[in-house]
Structure formats: C-alpha cells, structure tokens
C-alpha cells in the first residue's frame, strides 16, 4: 500500500563540510547545485518517511560485534557522531514501527539482519540529509550494510536485500510515501596505498549502469573487482546498488559527477581539537569523485 516516491544516491564525504571552499574548476559548486536540485525533487515528491541505506564507519560498532546487515530503528537519533565536523548537530525522529515491521518481514524472508534500537548517525548519514532534507522533519530508518571491514556481503546479496526492501515498503499497510537515500562511494582509497586517487573511468562506468538500470552488471561484481577499481572506499557502492534494486526497472538521472580530490582526502575526528590544518593537503589540481544522482 505504501509507495516509493523518490530515490537519491549521493556521496557523503566529510570534505563536503570540511573543505567547502570553491575549487578552480567549479566542481564543488556543481555538486552543491546538484544536491539543491535533488533536494527540490525530493520535496516535490512529498515523502512521509525516509530509509537511508548506509554503512557504519567503525564508530557505532566495533569488531567484538560487527553486523553484516543491521536495521537501525531507534525512536530518535542525534548526529553527526563526529563532534567536530563544521556542521550543526541535528535531532532526527526514527520510525520504530516501520523498522519493527521491516525486521520481522526480513527475518520471515530469511534475511538474517542484525538490528539496533540505538544509533548515532555519522557524517555518512548526516551530510546527505543536511543537504537533501535540512528540515530534518521526516522519520528516518537506517539500513546499514558492512562496507568497511572484510569479508563484506556480496553485491548480489545487497541487491537481493534491496529488492526485498522495495517489496516490503510496498506491502507496508499505511498509505505512506517513502523516499530512499543511498550514501557513500564512489571510488576512493582510505588508509591504504592509493589514498587520494580517484578512478574516474570506473565511476563514470558505474553511473552509466545505474542510469540505465543495469543492476545485474553491478550485482555480479566481486569485492575484489570493486577494491581493484574503486578502492576500499568504493565498496560503498553496495548502498547505491541496494537502493537501485529497491526501485528496480527505473532509470536514473545523473545530476552531477564532481571529482574533487579535497573531498576524498578530508577526514573528521570525533572529539578533541580540530586538526584541520595538520590534515590538510596543499592544493593539487582537482581530480575526481562522487556525484549526486536522482532516481525517479
């Protein structure tokens, strides 16, 4: 009975708020304008609730108890986790009734999700939400997928879960309008060799597949394929794939692809003195990184 009325996939790089100053090529501005457009389209779709497909960055969870998939459905949330990101601290409403429903349906369909009724969303959730729905008025459910600590769920499995997410939303017995937001990616390398690189060719190839709804070609990628072409950071494309599968069959529109090296390099810290100067990079010419994409 419910319906998915909009879906957006976008980057969540801390650099967006840490390094917002314009670059010579105007790439950052391109991304900001695209996010404004996505925000407008999301508003026009009049959503009642949001589901964000995202990943923990080893902040809420550690390896003593590390979920492959986790549905976070608290009553409320506050974020971002990183206290010293230069952005406001927001309160968010959860949607525990929907979360409980989805969890039960998932287990019934043999998706053995972990769950959490307490979660502090990090930059990965809050940066996109702050651009896409700064009102922070809609109830939010988080579907977290392991994208950072191998072994990772297969893209295939993420696509299956995404398809199920779409089905479950459409079977939710309230006449509500859901919007989906996928966050993270595209190619980037964090804390390993090739840090600072971006693989524009791979990014553009993926965006093309997404725009054409060619889900299968992404679902059959292996973690090794992704790592080689997109880095450990690129494993976050699972979030985009999951949302793509939830709206399977729908073409997408690329609003921007803005490769920005500043943005793959900036990293936040949770507490303490803001080490912005120590972690800054002297300016090379801009290269490449994530864009914003609207699926309608």
């Amino acid at each position: 009975m419910a319906e998915i009325v909009a879906a957006v996939a976008c980057a969540h790089a801390p650099g967006v708020v840490m390094r917002p100053e314009p670059d010579a090529a105007g790439l950052k501005e391109r991304w900001f304008r695209a996010m404004d457009e996505a925000r407008a389209r999301l508003a026009a779709a009049r959503p009642d609730a949001l589901v964000v497909v995202c990943n923990d960055h080893i902040q809420n969870f550690f390896f003593n108890n590390w979920p492959t998939f986790c549905l976070a459905y608290p009553e409320e949330m506050e974020g971002p986790f990183e206290r010293h990101l230069p952005m406001p601290r927001y309160q968010l409403r959860g949607y525990p009734e929907f979360g409980a429903y989805f969890l039960e349906q998932a287990l019934g369909a043999h998706f053995d999700l972990a769950s959490s009724q307490e979660y502090e969303p990090d930059h990965g959730v809050m940066i996109p939400l702050s651009r896409l729905r700064p009102e922070m008025d809609l109830p939010v459910t988080l579907l977290l997928q392991n994208c950072v600590q191998p072994p990772l769920p297969t893209p295939r499995r993420c696509a299956e879960l995404g398809r199920f997410l779409g089905q479950a939303i459409r079977a939710w017995p309230r006449p509500e309008r859901f919007a989906l937001i996928a966050v993270g990616a595209l190619s980037h390398w964090i804390g390993i060799k090739r840090m600072g690189e971006i693989n524009e060719a791979w990014d553009r190839w993926l965006l093309e597949l997404i725009c054409q709804g060619r889900l299968e070609e992404i679902a059959r990628l292996s973690s090794a394929d992704i790592e080689r072409e997109g880095g450990n950071g690129g494993q976050e494309i699972r979030n985009w794939l999951t949302v793509m599968a939830a709206v399977e069959g729908h073409p997408a529109e690329q609003l921007a692809y803005a490769p920005v090296r500043d943005w793959v390099l900036a990293a936040p810290w949770r507490t303490g003195i803001w080490p912005a100067r120590g972690a800054d990079l002297p300016r090379p010419p801009p290269r490449l990184t994530p864009g914003a994409l609207a699926l309608q």
Binding site: K193, M195, L265, P268, G272, A279
Partner: protein
Amino acid sequence: MSAYRINKLLFDLQMKPELFDEFLAHPEAVADRYHLTPEEARAVIEVDATALSRLGTQPYLLRFYTVRRGMSNEELIRQLELA
C-alpha cells in the same frame, strides 16, 4: 596475525577522550593494558603508518588515528606507499 588488539586500542582512543589523554601521557602503560606486542606498541606510539598498515591495522581506524595525531595527508600517503 590478527590486528584485533591494535584495532581495539585505536577504536577506544577514538571513543574515550580520557583514554586518549592518558595514552599521550603514558603510552607504554596503555599499550600494555591492551596487550600489544612490543612491535605493535611501537607502531601505535610512534604513529608509524607504514608499520601499522603492515601489521594489518584496519584502514579506517588507521586513518582516523593519524588525523587525530595531526599527520598530514601528504605524510600519510607517503608512509602508506612504503607499506
């Protein structure tokens, strides 16, 4: 070799400001509490990203730690190239 103990220390340093302060003041004592080997302890205390990477430290935790310790991106990239 599992980097669990290193990762655990880096995670706790991220989560507990008092532990971080204690670690700066008494690094060997804290490393010892986390049962780090001498090699692991040295890598963490000296913020040796090359060694930490070789020891299998989780890349995200490594990255957050170097940011916290004021290492520049340039320097981290240089050290990771050697790993």
